[in-house]
């Protein structure tokens, strides 16, 4: 009789509950991933059919042209430029701040204040960053008298990137075992050499991944750009265009999706397709980067 109890009991209430709860959690996991699959596949379906060479090379036609909406070249180039400006500002400042927090601050009051500030900044809605830069740069015409400009757009996005860069640098460096730091200092390396040659390379993987993801996130922002870079129908042709209105994929989508004309809507779908695809690629790139650097570490 006692031996019987060792066999799996299909009808015991414990096992039934177990199966029930397992299925429910599986179902919810499915629901969670469903929006992602739907959004991506819908955009791929609606936008993928619009892809042509003209899309990448032409300027968008002004609304009203019922036969062709043109291309998204200015927006594509604009997104690249604005994101690059944001990275150029946010990565050095953010990494410097992260290094200070993780390596130098020793957890003092100032460091705690900065960490708190970074967390708050990370939670600030992106539109606030846009309004802030609008008030600071656009409306005051502080940069060579220009109002809406690609440069202002880049600065607004850099505000959004900054907390994620600081955080990933800080967290990445904190994961480096203290033994490595001691080893380096113990053979007479200075703090500066230790950080540059030992701790930063050891944390490179997590920092690089975090930074790349931060860039991808900034590239898709719309709200801050509406207030700062606005939009442009025309090719970016030279350096001075930095100081004028600049198009971007996300604002193009916003503008053209609201147009009453079908061709414009289609262009917005095509731009969505490009944007989603490039963000996907950047994410994949971040993963590859992580893999490459781990392999190198083990030599």
């Amino acid at each position: 009789m006692q031996n019987h109890n060792l066999f799996y009991q299909n009808k015991s209430s414990r096992n039934i509950t177990d199966i029930f709860l397992t299925s429910i959690s599986f179902l919810f996991a499915l629901f969670a991933i469903l929006p992602l699959i739907l959004v991506v596949s819908y955009i791929l379906f609606k936008g993928g059919s619009q892809i042509s060479l003209d899309l990448f090379t032409l300027e968008p036609n002004p609304p009203g042209d019922e036969f062709s909406a043109g291309g998204i070249n200015p927006a594509l180039v604009g997104t690249l430029i604005i994101t690059s400006i944001a990275s150029l500002i946010a990565i050095p400042i953010g990494m410097g701040g992260g290094i200070y927090l993780a390596e130098y601050s020793k957890g003092g009051l100032f460091a705690r204040f900065i960490r708190f500030g970074v967390n708050v900044l990370a939670g600030v809605p992106s539109i606030i960053a846009g309004v802030f830069i609008y008030a600071l740069i656009v409306s005051t015409k502080i940069i060579f008298g220009s109002t809406y400009s690609g440069l202002a757009g880049g600065i607004a996005l850099s505000i959004l990137m900054l907390p994620s860069v600081i955080k990933t640098t800080d967290e990445g460096l904190k994961l480096v075992p203290n033994e490595l730091r001691q080893a380096s200092l113990g053979i007479g390396a200075s703090m500066y050499t230790t950080i540059l040659r030992i701790t930063l390379p050891a944390a490179f993987r997590s920092i690089a991944t975090g930074v790349v993801l931060g860039i991808a996130r900034a590239a898709g922002e719309t709200a801050p750009l509406i207030f700062t870079a606005l939009f442009s129908y025309y090719y970016v042709s030279g350096f001075e265009d930095l100081f004028y209105e600049m198009g971007s994929l996300s604002v193009l989508i916003y503008n053209f999706a609201l147009e009453p004309y079908d061709v414009q809507n289609k262009l917005a779908w095509a731009a969505s397709f490009i944007l989603v695809l490039s963000i996907l690629f950047v994410n994949i790139f971040a993963r590859i980067l992580a893999n490459i650097t781990t392999k190198e570490k083990r030599i």
Binding site: L180, A183, G186, I187, G188, T193, R298
Partner: protein, 267 residues
């Protein structure tokens, strides 16, 4: 005659040293002269502050927030806690090997070359790497795979790599913080042999929990103990209970506590 000369040859001396973390005093009123060309072992029960004392000798405690030291630590006649002293320079003269083997995530060759290079070594790097590995008794085991990662070695080999790395910067003193506690007996034996070799060129100060090891490797032994605070709130403060030649400490200790610790009655 030789013994007399040795006694004059003190390389590091602690003069009334007290170390505290914040308001918590770890060790109190340490007076101790470490002799040149000797292996000195620091023994004592856990929490008596012997590692803290060891780490104070090359200012590694600077890295711990709130850690402060009173008194003077003289190295070659200079107080290394003087305001004008650069701790980086101190650590170049007084190297350190840690409890856990901690090679850099670089090749074996680079592990050794890194320290030498940042210390401004200009000679033949290949030669230095080879000599350091020979002195650390690791050359024969890894001469064919210098390009492999330091992590590819076994624990004992990694520790000897760390010793080689320390030797390469040619310090005057090598501090070892329980270097064998993470290793098996065979690796331990190899490291002890290495230490005997190193004695010819370096002064070694080692913290160990293994009394047999102290007996095997060291010339001098310092026994640290901890007593409860006088105000009796349960906290303990470490002090140097007895210091002398290893044979004397182990065979005829003056203090009763030393006798008890060595015979395994506590600790």
């Amino acid at each position: 005659m030789i013994k007399n000369k040795k006694q004059k040859n003190k390389i590091i001396s602690l003069d009334n040293v007290s170390i505290s973390y914040g308001s918590f005093e770890v060790v109190k009123n340490i007076f101790c002269d470490f002799k040149k060309g000797c292996i000195t072992s620091l023994i004592g029960p856990s929490g008596c502050g012997k590692s803290t004392v060891l780490r104070s000798l090359n200012r590694m405690n600077d890295l711990i927030p709130n850690c402060s030291l009173k008194g003077t630590v003289m190295f070659d006649g200079i107080n290394i806690y003087d305001k004008k002293i650069d701790p980086v320079e101190v650590r170049r003269r007084i190297g350190m090997v840690f409890q856990q083997p901690n090679p850099f995530p670089k090749s074996i060759y680079e592990n050794i070359a890194f320290g030498a290079r940042i210390n401004g070594y200009v000679g033949n790097m290949d030669e230095l790497v080879e000599n350091s590995l020979i002195k650390a008794a690791l050359w024969d085991e890894c001469k064919d795979k210098l390009g492999d990662s330091g992590y590819s070695l076994s624990g004992g080999q990694q520790q000897r790599l760390c010793i080689a790395r320390t030797i390469a910067i040619e310090p005057q003193v090598i501090l070892m913080d329980e270097p064998c506690s993470a290793l098996d007996p065979i690796s331990t034996l190899k490291i002890e042999e290495t230490m005997h070799e190193l004695k010819k060129n370096f002064t070694i100060i080692i913290v160990t929990h293994n009394m047999q090891q102290a007996l095997r490797v060291s010339d001098m032994t310092a026994f640290f103990n901890a007593v409860e605070y006088e105000d009796g709130d349960g906290g303990k403060v470490g002090y140097l209970a007895e210091y002398g030649s290893t044979s004397k400490i182990f065979n005829s200790p003056k203090e009763k506590t030393t006798q008890e610790y060595i015979s395994g009655k506590f600790g």
